[in-house]
Symmetry: C2
Amino acid sequence: MQELFALLHPFKFKHRSLCMPEDPKMKRECYGVFYVTYDLKAEEQTKTWKKMINIAVSGAAGMISNHLLFKLASGEVFGRDQPIALKLLGSERSFQALEGVAMELEDSLYPLLKEVSIGIDPYDVFQDAEWALLIGAKPRGPGMERADLLEINGKIFAEQGKALNAVASAALICLKNAPNIPAKNFHALTRLDENRAKCQLALKAGVFYDKVSNMTIWGNHSTTQVPDFLNGRIDGLPVEEVIKDTKWLEEDFTEKIQKRGGVLIKKWGRSSAASTSVSIVDAIRSLVTPTPEGDWFSSGVFTNGNPYGVAEELVFSMPCRSKGDGDYELVKDVIFDDYLLKRITKAEAELLAEKKCVAHLIGEGIAVCDLPEDTMLPGEM
Amino acid sequence: MQELFALLHPFKFKHRSLCMPEDPKMKRECYGVFYVTYDLKAEEQTKTWKKMINIAVSGAAGMISNHLLFKLASGEVFGRDQPIALKLLGSERSFQALEGVAMELEDSLYPLLKEVSIGIDPYDVFQDAEWALLIGAKPRGPGMERADLLEINGKIFAEQGKALNAVASAALICLKNAPNIPAKNFHALTRLDENRAKCQLALKAGVFYDKVSNMTIWGNHSTTQVPDFLNGRIDGLPVEEVIKDTKWLEEDFTEKIQKRGGVLIKKWGRSSAASTSVSIVDAIRSLVTPTPEGDWFSSGVFTNGNPYGVAEELVFSMPCRSKGDGDYELVKDVIFDDYLLKRITKAEAELLAEKKCVAHLIGEGIAVCDLPEDTMLPGEM
């Protein structure tokens, strides 16, 4: 199971204005200046724009969202002709901060941002959402066991999953709690790990990071994650032909990716928000723009039918390609060696153990929580 | 004098790589992956790109910069064909956080971001900078008098002004300490106030904020600022023809803009960073793209030669237009009435009094600090 993030790709729902609900019993209201309704087809400047899409974001008062929402509103994610409605999910405790975020969105005067609504009821906020960005998980506190964290965040995602399923369009628990939404529409973020892996390979090879391609993160967004240097390429060549230091690749490289988050927390006093939000943008763009020929990206997706022999019924990061339609297919031409397989198997074992911990949250009976070791999320101290 | 922000427009300096100084005695080094040097003309993908520009940012470890730097790197400010070098100025105390920012910039894999260097010596960091974004002022602490704040931030800007002048390409103090740089190249930010004013007028008029134009903030980024509803337009019509509530315009409107920052601090627990960085982006874009026909923008600029009768030798926010070449001209066809003139005169009086407070920092003898009242910056409590 991946914490932190999940996204749904576009659903084909009839658009209904969030700000002027057809059913007057619906109490959700647009925030501040966004109470105005817009007929985008009536104006010269906006009549060629696409139909508005609704984007629901949980954890909307948090630090990652504080970067991400402004990127969504600016048009850099979905394009300069895609008007958007933001539906922000907070908690009772964070409601004032959520209002502050909505105020800053007002003050930013983004032309594409036509609606902002805020709320604390996921059933309400996820109504009609074509994309749901679930960023509302809690970070692990000092002295907290990973199993405790799974329990807490599992409940959050279970609730959000149920809400998504009930009224409209987040990892395994969420997916299992939303049986009406195709499992293929759920993604768990490993893109930050992919980006960090590309950067570290570039640094070691002495090239710019845009020369690194075909980078897969296998498995979990945790210390068992597997940055795959066997299939990765630098300037079109296999990584191992450019970086001949096998010890560095097998030992230092993976550790650098895994520990990057922790180093950042020490330097910066809090976990990475800016680069995390950049990676969320990258992840979404990878689904809405065609993948460059010969390349791929990593995403935590449902394992059913995967060609790599990973256990079914898991969410597992694997190499994906997209035609840009919001959908993806798994990459077939990847190779494996003993080292890579051993590492993937370890990641799989962790996810299978985590799954047993949350059995009660995914409708699979009584939880048996016997995690083999207390693995950490990248960034945890 | 405006605190918070100042920018310089492009200078015609010969580009020299910051990462590989010609003079080996120069110790500045690019951070991490950015130590690699790039020949942009050698590659198919980058050979049509513009020549790289150097952007120096002070206060680079702060919250505003944490948003702004990623916007600069993404290409949304200067365009998708403009490679950039970021030169980040921090303090000894903030150096670790500055490293964290540089690490997050690495992890973001921005193709246009070709160089990042970090330092604590303004003379070094401002070397060869075409743009300098001075965001390194301190916010006012509890119980601090405005005069104390002026003294502290005045010294910061005096040092930065001297450094800019000495080696390469910030408000009145900074300008006065950099006599070799044309005064016209200095801008103090009032764009956040302008954006907030547009939003509040739109809210009151029941229209979307893109319908509000010709919005001037006159004067200082403080409570004496004058949001000008006399010259402002909504859907092409004078504001007062659309909003006929004169009491609201004269009393509530201005107060709403002035107090917006304070309300946000209460809601959000800290001052606005995201929307401030959006407004900095807006301010820069207003200088590098042609102003739309008939419209204008506000910027705090040097008053010498202004057609409005504002005292010379001040930095004062006034209506500007640009051809998109980094330069600007003041707008001539604005109208005044008694109410507007009275308000502008009050803002001018405040800035003249502040100037006397910092006389020692601008080479004008001994400071006489007798501020008429303890005015506040928007957002101060």
